[in-house]
Structure formats: structure tokens, C-alpha cells
């Protein structure tokens, strides 16, 4: 084995030295010395053998490394001597680093990591739209693109639906993606069991989640038939655990976030390429751009293609179509980017506060070490050497804090994942990976430099001479300048805290706004029963009437109503700006429905189950959109696929807007019509049930009743309306939870910071205070002085913080709801809260100061 130069040179050093001394001894003997004296003289001439050996070895040791080891050893000794201090610093650091790492891991999983399909950078999501945001691609268009577009390696159409899987008695509802051929290649999917279907097969491929949940992880299910929406399909295979459908699913008539858990082939009926009046839609398109072709080029080509199609087809349907094409990752996570960016910023603020707090602690402690450092400096330690010593100590603290923070982060991530709505895409992929570790390292190093060098720098400016002469008592950390620096650091902490608190406060207020329901609307007393499955393909009015009767006669049910979405209308009206189009939802409702929901009639009359004429209720938004300032009562409205002649539906009443499906969306224009007139099949009804108390109490008996009425595969989902509403704003709740946690931590740390400075200054000034009191100062004056000192720091921090908050909260507009980012009441409450905290933190030290016994204090020192 080859030795290093160092090892080769140092090999046999001891032998050489021994030989050297022996040869010298021999020489001396030859010169006539007695052997004993000869040896002694040789040794004296040589010098201390141990020292020579050490010096020689040292030639080969890098000096900086050696000094570093020395610094680390010394640092460890210092930290061991102050276990309380060390623990506080490590715990604070762990908190900061842990929080940062957890949030970064989420950002990493959701925003930074590439999508888990092959060549993710070349994947795009494509759709067409006309009017408003109604996005869908006509099958004929898709087929033409696939044939003619040169920019794409592959194009796959997909459609997402909600389907019922399982037998009559235990069917479950889940998201199903119908996919055209080529999807398996595009996604790089490999089956975990069985195989992936070929186009045109009557089979289904299950996600691992569904396979586990519904089929008990039994591989025997492969090749067996299962019921899907009342028809039989064969299970072809199961996908691996980590496979995900990477397009955000969109379902007609619902905003629920339901994951795609099964795949079936999308079949284009023969003749799809012909453009007929009733255009077949195939959903949206996933496309893989050819290597070397940019997204812009691909988009331009499709747009040109679409223009040509419009020219060749006089059908007005095509003339209005526009292409929308976005990189798949942007489409998937674009919506959560602002929220995550803000959370990352917020957690960085927490880290800054952590660093400020630790810098403060170190500064206070540096005061007691002033003499030691002065001695080191006076015997020749350079400025760099002293700084390095401080840095080494910070490094040790940061390494320990970082390790603890990592543990904390793992724990925090598992909590976040459990807490988290399925509606944040890719969140489940969150793990502590190499990039996250690198991030921890970077944050830690930055922290060490921030709070390690600060004290060393301030410290260096003290006069060595004074330091050596004085005791530790009047050192820099306690001197007026030192306290001012520490006060400034605390003020900065408070400023950061107030920014976080303002953000959290605004979100709390948004939440409060979201949860303010109009009088009469009591979602906590309403049970929402969603029905779906094959029976509703053939259901008749009489069946529904019977169902309602039986539900209403169930014990514990106050009243029950039915609603079903009968259609959507997209239209512009003279009341809207030209080209502006709104989406109208047509709800087929039973007579009792508005009463159950607690709707308020503003004008006209309610509708009944036995209307002879075609009538409709509209809500305020619809009235505003359709009729502007005119009185809509008695006016006809034209609804799509309505009866002939058109314009036959007459408005008989206006109800107040009510948000009962998605809390954070503006109320949509709604049309309510009697369900007997609007039973368009399939009719998938939602039964709403009003109960006096907790609505989930009646859920089991309702489920039983429904499975008695329909013996065929029915999926029943029951949820209190309150829960459904809460789910509709789950991502907001998540943001609030995180920002709230950060703000709380910031407040706590700021409180500790201000307490530390004030308590320390009281201890340092015990003597002065004693003198003041001996001279006749009242205890009250002493309290006022101490509290005043704390409040002057607090006010400075609050002032700066408010200014910063006014600037920064503007960035979070997208997270707010009906609250201005500079909402004065919120800012006032936050300011008062922080001032109260500062007051609270200084109260203890102030009382301690007031209780100083002048006689004892004067003897102090």
C-alpha cells in the first residue's frame, strides 16, 4: 500500500532519533567520556526528545485544522459549563430549523421536484375553451391534432368522472379516469399486478390505493369481474403504490376534490372525426412535446391548427374555440405556488427571530467572558483567531440544533401529511430528501454566521485595557452600548413577529368572514346525502316522491328536500358587458328544499312540487346578471335544452344568494326549478335533511332506508353540510394553521427575547436602583422605569413591523377573503396583542426591581 508523504516521512522517526542519540553517545565515549556521562551529554545536546518528536510531526499537520480542533474542544468545554444556556439555544435552533425544514420539504415535493413521469419537462396539458372557463376538447379536434400536429411526440385524451365501484350493497364512489391509448407510455406506468389494458378492452386498472381499500390487497382480484356503474368490467391489473394520475381531475357538477383511483379505456365512437352539430367532447389532453420543440412553438402550432379548423367548419361552435396549453407541472401546482411561497417566507422570518434570540443570548454571555477574551487578545490572539473561536462555538450549537431540528422536521412532516387536504397536489410525495438535507445545512450555516459573528464583532470594539482592569460586571454586554444593541435586536424580533402576526390575523379574519352565515342558514343541522349509481339512470318522479316521504317519516328528521343539478347554462346577456359570459347552474329542487336550506325569499313566491306552468326561482346574482336593475318577476328566461317553445320558463321569485357548496367562491348565478319538470336522466339527487341536533345521528338509518328502496348498486355518501363546507376550504385551513403556528412561535420567541433583555438589565442595575430607592424613589417609579424601558423597545419594533407588514401583507391577497391586506382592525388588534405581550414580559423583571431592598443592593458590588 502506498503511504502518504506524511506517513512515509514520519515512519521510523523514533528510530532515527534513537540512532542519532546513540551515535552521539558513541562519539562522546570515543572522545574519552565515561559511558554514563557520554549518554547524558548526548541527550542534553539533542534537547527534549518528546518535544522534538511533536514539533516534527507538527510540520506535517495543517495549522488551521489543528487550531480548529482546539477551538472545538474549547467550545465544547464552554458549552458543557453552561448546560442551561446550551439547552435553550439548541432547543430554539431545533424549533427554527425543524419548522424550516418541514415547510421546505413540502415546497420541494410540490413545487421543485420534477413530475414522476418520463421527460416531465416535455409534458403539457392542453384544452380548448370558449366563453367563460368552460374547458373541453371536442373529439374531432383531438383526432385532427393527433393526426396533423408536428410538435408533439404523443397526445392522450382523458376524461375524469365519478363512478361507483363494487356490488349493490357496498359500492364506493371514486374518481375514474377514462384514458385514450398511449397514456401508459406517456406516464411510464408499469403494473404491480396483472397488466395494463389495451385500447378498446372492457376492463379496468386499479390504483394501489383503491386495490388496498376496496379489495383488501388481494392479487386474486386480477382477471375477476367487478361492477362499475352498474356494468361488468374485468380487472386487468393494479398500478404500483407510487403511481399517480398527474392531471388535476375535474368533475362535472361538483367542486369536490376526489382522487383518481381507477382507469378505463376512453373509446371514440366511430365517425367521431366528423363534425356534427352535437359535438362529442373527449375531455382534456395530455401531450408530450417533441425534444427540441418549445412549449411556445407547440402552442403556436395548435393555435394555427385550430384557426384552420374554424375556417373549414362554418359551425359557429368552432369559431369561438381557443387553445389553452400549459406545462403540466404549472397546470398541476400553479394554484398553490403563492401560498407556499408565502409560507416559506413566513418560516424564514421565524428563523430570523430564532437567530436574533440566540445572538442576544450569546451577546449577554459574551459579557461574562470579556476578561477571558481580553487576556487571549493581549497575549497575541489575532482578531480572526478570536472570531474563529466564536464561530466554532456557534458551529457546535448549530450542528446539535440542526440534528435536533431534523428529528423535529420528520415529526412535523408526518403531522402535516395527516392534517393535509388531498387538494394540495403532490403533497403526499413529501419526504426528507437530499435536497432538504442540503437546505438544512445551508440554513444552519447561515444561522451560525449570523449569530456567531455578531457578538464577536461588537465585542471586539471594547477596550482591552478596561476589560483587564475591571471585573466582568461592567462589561460590554451590560454596558449602555451593549444593552442598546441587544434592545435593537429585540426590536427587530418584534418587528418580524408583528409581520407574521398581521398575516395570521388577516387569515383568521378571512376565516371568520367565510364562516359568517346569513340568519336562517344552519349547516350544522343539515345532513347532505349524495346518491349516485345505476338506479338513477332510470329513476322516475314517483320513486323520488316515495324516497322523500320515507326519509321525512324517519325519526329525528325535521324536513327533507331534494336537489339535483339539471344543467349548466353559459350565456351573455345585455346586462353583462359584451363578450362577458356567466355560468348558470340549473338546480332541480323539491318544494321543501329551500326551507331545509334556510333560503330567504326576497321577492315573488316559492315554487311547489305541483306547478302546472314552467316556473323558476333565481338568486340575486342571476337576477343581476340577467336583468340588471329591471324587475325579473314574471319575465321569461331561456334555459338550455328547456322545453319548447324556448323562453317558456317564467321567473316567479328571487332568493338571496347563499353559499352552500364552496365557501370561498363568489356566489354563482343559480336557477331553481321544480324537479318534476327537470328530471333529465341520469338524475343524481342530493337529499338534504334538516335535524334538530347533530345531523350525523340520523345518517345510519337514512343509509339503511335508501338501500331498502333501491336494491341495485347505490352509492350513498352522507356528510353534515357543515363538514362539507369546512372541506371546501381545507387548503385555507392548512395555510392558516401553518401561519398561525409560525406567528405563535414568533410571539413566544419575541416574548422570551424581551424578557431576557429586561431581566438582565434589571440584574445589572440592581445597584443603581438601590441608590435611587435609597434616595427616595417610590417602588412605583421603579416599575414604571423598567416597564418604560421595555415598552420603548417594543414600540420601536412595533413601528418598524407595522410599516413592513403594510408592505408585505399585500403579497398575500390571494390567501385572503373579503379582507383588505391593510385591514385596520386586524392591525390594531395585532399591535395591542404584541404590546400586551411586551408588557407581560417586562412585568416580572419590573416587580423584581421594585422588590429590591436598598440596603442589600447598596452592599451588592
Amino acid at each position: 500500500m502506498r503511504l502518504t508523504r506524511r506517513a512515509r516521512a514520519l515512519k521510523d522517526l523514533d528510530r532515527d532519533i534513537r540512532d542519532h542519540i546513540e551515535t552521539e553517545t558513541q562519539d562522546n565515549i570515543e572522545r574519552g567520556m565515561p559511558p554514563e556521562e557520554a549518554r547524558w551529554s548526548a541527550l542534553r545536546k539533542f534537547g527534549a526528545v518528546t518535544r522534538v518528536t511533536e514539533d516534527t510531526r507538527e510540520v506535517w499537520t495543517a495549522v488551521w485544522l489543528q487550531q480548529l480542533m482546539q477551538d472545538v474542544r474549547y467550545g465544547l468545554r464552554m458549552l458543557k459549563r453552561n448546560p442551561g444556556f446550551t439547552l435553550v439555544v439548541i432547543a430554539t435552533l431545533a424549533l427554527g430549523i425543524g419548522m424550516n425544514t418541514a415547510v421546505f420539504s413540502v415546497v420541494n415535493a410540490v413545487l421543485l421536484r420534477p413530475l414522476p413521469y418520463p421527460n416531465p419537462e416535455r409534458l403539457a396539458w392542453v384544452t380548448t375553451y370558449q366563453d367563460a372557463n368552460f374547458e373541453s376538447v371536442a373529439t374531432a379536434d383531438f383526432l385532427d391534432w393527433r393526426e396533423q400536429a408536428r410538435s408533439f411526440e404523443q397526445m392522450v385524451a382523458y376524461q375524469t368522472n365519478i363512478g361507483a365501484i363494487g356490488n349493490a350493497d357496498d359500492a364506493i364512489r371514486t374518481g375514474i379516469a377514462q384514458i385514450s391509448d398511449g397514456f401508459w407510455t406517456l406516464s411510464g406506468a408499469r403494473p404491480a399486478f396483472g397488466r395494463l389494458f389495451q385500447p378498446g378492452e372492457n376492463s379496468i386498472v386499479l390504483s394501489y390505493g383503491l386495490f388496498a381499500r376496496r379489495f383488501g390487497r388481494d392479487p386474486g382480484v386480477v382477471g375477476k369481474p367487478v361492477m362499475l356503474d352498474g356494468r361488468q368490467v374485468t380487472v386487468a391489473g393494479v398500478l404500483p403504490k407510487d403511481f399517480r394520475f398527474l392531471a388535476a381531475p375535474r368533475f362535472a357538477f361538483t367542486d369536490e376534490s376526489i382522487n383518481i383511483e381507477a382507469f378505463t379505456p376512453l373509446v371514440f365512437p366511430p365517425g367521431s372525426q366528423a363534425r356534427a352539430m352535437g359535438m362529442a367532447q373527449c375531455g382534456d389532453v395530455l401531450a408530450k412535446v417533441r425534444p427540441g420543440v418549445s412549449i411556445e412553438q407547440a402552442r403556436a402550432e395548435l393555435e394555427a391548427l385550430e384557426t384552420r379548423i374554424a375556417k373549414q367548419n362554418p359551425n359557429p361552435f368552432f369559431r369561438r374555440m381557443k387553445v389553452r396549453l400549459a406545462p403540466l407541472d404549472q397546470k398541476l401546482v400553479g394554484g398553490v405556488r403563492p401560498a407556499l411561497t408565502i409560507l416559506m417566507g413566513a418560516v424564514m422570518f421565524v428563523m430570523l427571530i430564532v437567530c436574533a434570540n440566540i445572538a442576544n443570548l450569546l451577546l449577554a454571555r459574551a459579557a461574562t467572558r470579556r476578561k477571558e477574551i481580553a487576556i487571549r487578545a493581549s497575549v497575541g490572539a489575532g482578531r480572526m483567531r478570536v472570531m474563529r473561536q466564536f464561530l466554532a462555538e456557534s458551529m457546535i450549537l448549530v450542528l446539535l440544533g440542526g440534528a435536533a431540528g431534523l428529528l423535529l422536521a420528520r415529526w412535523a412532516i408526518s403531522i402535516l401529511l395527516r392534517l393535509l387536504p388531498g387538494s394540495v397536489p403532490r403533497l403526499a410525495e413529501t419526504t426528507l430528501d437530499g435536497r432538504a438535507l442540503l437546505f438544512v445545512l445551508a440554513v444552519s450555516a447561515a444561522a451560525a454566521v449570523t449569530f456567531g459573528l455578531g457578538p464577536a464583532f461588537f465585542f471586539w470594539r471594547t477596550d482591552l485595557h478596561d476589560a483587564l482592569k475591571d471585573g466582568a460586571g461592567t462589561s460590554f454586554g451590560a454596558s449602555r452600548a451593549g444593552l442598546r444593541v441587544r434592545g435593537m435586536i429585540v426590536a427587530i424580533e418584534l418587528a418580524l413577529a408583528i409581520v407574521l402576526l398581521s398575516g395570521a390575523g388577516l387569515m383568521v379574519k378571512s376565516f371568520w368572514r367565510l364562516h359568517t352565515h346569513p340568519p336562517g342558514f344552519h349547516p350544522e343541522n343539515i345532513l347532505k346525502v349524495s346518491l349516485s349509481g345505476p338506479p338513477f339512470r332510470t329513476i322516475r318522479e314517483a320513486d323520488l316522491r316515495e324516497l322523500l316521504l320515507r326519509v321525512e317519516s324517519t325519526p329525528g328528521v325535521q324536513s327533507a328536500g331534494i336537489t339535483a343539478i339539471a344543467g349548466m347554462a353559459f350565456r351573455g346577456t345585455p346586462a353583462l358587458r359584451p363578450g362577458q359570459v356567466s355560468r348558470f347552474t340549473i338546480n332541480a329542487i323539491s318544494e321543501a328544499y329551500p326551507r331545509v336550506m334556510g333560503m330567504r325569499l326576497l321577492k315573488g313566491r316559492w315554487i311547489t312540487d305541483s306547478e302546472r306552468d314552467r316556473v323558476a326561482l333565481i338568486n340575486e346574482s342571476a337576477a343581476r346578471y340577467l336583468f340588471g336593475d329591471d324587475d325579473p318577476i314574471g319575465r321569461p328566461i331561456s334555459l338550455p335544452k328547456g322545453p319548447t317553445p324556448p323562453d317558456a320558463d317564467a321567473v316567479v321569485g328571487i332568493v338571496a344568494d347563499l353559499k352552500y357548496s364552496k365557501l370561498d367562491a363568489d356566489p354563482e348565478p343559480q336557477v331553481y326549478a321544480p324537479y318534476p319538470h327537470w328530471m333529465r336522466l341520469p338524475f343524481t339527487p342530493t337529499v338534504v335533511i334538516r335535524t334538530p341536533g347533530d345531523p350525523s345521528a340520523v345518517a345510519p338509518s337514512i343509509r339503511k332506508l335508501i338501500s331498502d328502496v333501491f336494491e341495485h348498486q347505490v352509492v350513498v355518501e352522507t356528510q353534515s353540510l357543515e363538514q362539507a363546507l369546512a372541506d371546501s376550504i381545507a387548503p385555507r385551513r392548512f395555510n392558516l394553521f401553518l401561519l398561525g403556528t409560525f406567528a405563535g412561535t414568533a410571539l413566544l420567541l419575541a416574548m422570551v427575547g424581551i424578557y431576557g433583555v429586561i431581566a438582565y438589565s434589571v440584574t445589572q442595575r440592581t445597584h443603581d436602583i438601590g441608590v435611587c430607592m435609597a434616595l427616595g424613589d417610590q417602588r412605583r417609579a421603579v416599575v414604571r422605569m423598567v416597564v418604560g424601558q421595555a415598552m420603548s423597545i417594543a414600540l420601536a419594533g412595533i413601528g418598524v413591523g407595522l410599516a413592513a407588514a403594510l408592505g408585505l401583507t399585500r403579497l398575500m391577497v390571494s390567501l385572503l377573503y373579503e379582507v383588505q391586506p391593510n385591514d385596520p382592525p386586524t392591525l390594531i388588534v395585532v399591535t395591542l396583542a404584541l404590546a400586551a405581550t411586551a408588557l407581560l414580559a417586562s412585568w416580572g423583571p419590573a416587580l423584581k426591581a421594585a422588590l429590591i431592598d436598598p440596603a442589600t443592593a447598596l452592599r451588592h458590588e
Binding site: D16, H20, G47, D55, T56
Partner: protein, 119 residues
């Protein structure tokens, strides 16, 4: 360690390096022989603390000016021999030049003082 003491050591080290390089110019030698040669050639004016030879030797090895090799001594024992490298030979010229300049400079400074004393 005070600064002054360190400075003295530095001076000694530098000089010792020069002397070792010069001693090795005729050929390889082992540690004791080098010490003896320096003492002998300076007519015993320079009393080298023999131990300080070893850190100096290793410093020179590290710089690549001399190399060490195993050899057999006169009394048939294995010993380490040091030899000047080509780089070391060049360095010796540089060091001698430096030393001459230093000596001249110091001499120039000292000369007037010496004359004054004579007067």
C-alpha cells in the same frame, strides 16, 4: 509563547534550513552526520541543538527540497539518509543569495557604529 521568542526561533529556523541544504550539497547524509558537519564546518561556533534538526529536515522534505531514503550506516545499521533534490539545489542558490544580501545589509548598518566606537 511571547512574540519575541517566536521571532528568534524563526530566524534560527531559516538559517538552519540554509545550513542543512549546504551540508547536503556534496551528497547524502544521515541526521547525526548533518549535525556534526554543521558544528565541524563552523568550527564549533554554531552550537545547534541537535533535536531542532528534525523538524527542519521534515519541513524541507515537505517543501520538496530534500528527499529521505533508507540506507545502511557505516556500522551496518538501517538509517534514514537525506539527499538534496534538484529543486533543493536551486533553492540553495536562492538562499545563499538571500543570505549574502542580508549579511551585506546588516554589515552596512553596523559599520558606521563600529567606526564610532573606534574613535
Amino acid at each position: 509563547m511571547s512574540t519575541r521568542e517566536k521571532d528568534r526561533l524563526d530566524l534560527l529556523q531559516g538559517t538552519l534550513d540554509l545550513l542543512i541544504l549546504r551540508t547536503l550539497l556534496p551528497g547524502r547524509a544521515h541526521g547525526h552526520a548533518i549535525a556534526k558537519a554543521i558544528e565541524h564546518n563552523s568550527e564549533d561556533v554554531l552550537q545547534v541543538e541537535q533535536g531542532s534538526l528534525y523538524p527542519a529536515l521534515h519541513r524541507l522534505i515537505k517543501r520538496g527540497w530534500i528527499s529521505a531514503e533508507e540506507g545502511t550506516s557505516e556500522n551496518n545499521r538501517r538509517a534514514k539518509y537525506y539527499r538534496l533534490t534538484i529543486k533543493g539545489r536551486k533553492q540553495l542558490d536562492v538562499e545563499i543569495g538571500k543570505w549574502a544580501r542580508l549579511a551585506r545589509a546588516i554589515a552596512r548598518i553596523l559599520r558606521p557604529a563600529a567606526q564610532k566606537v573606534r574613535v
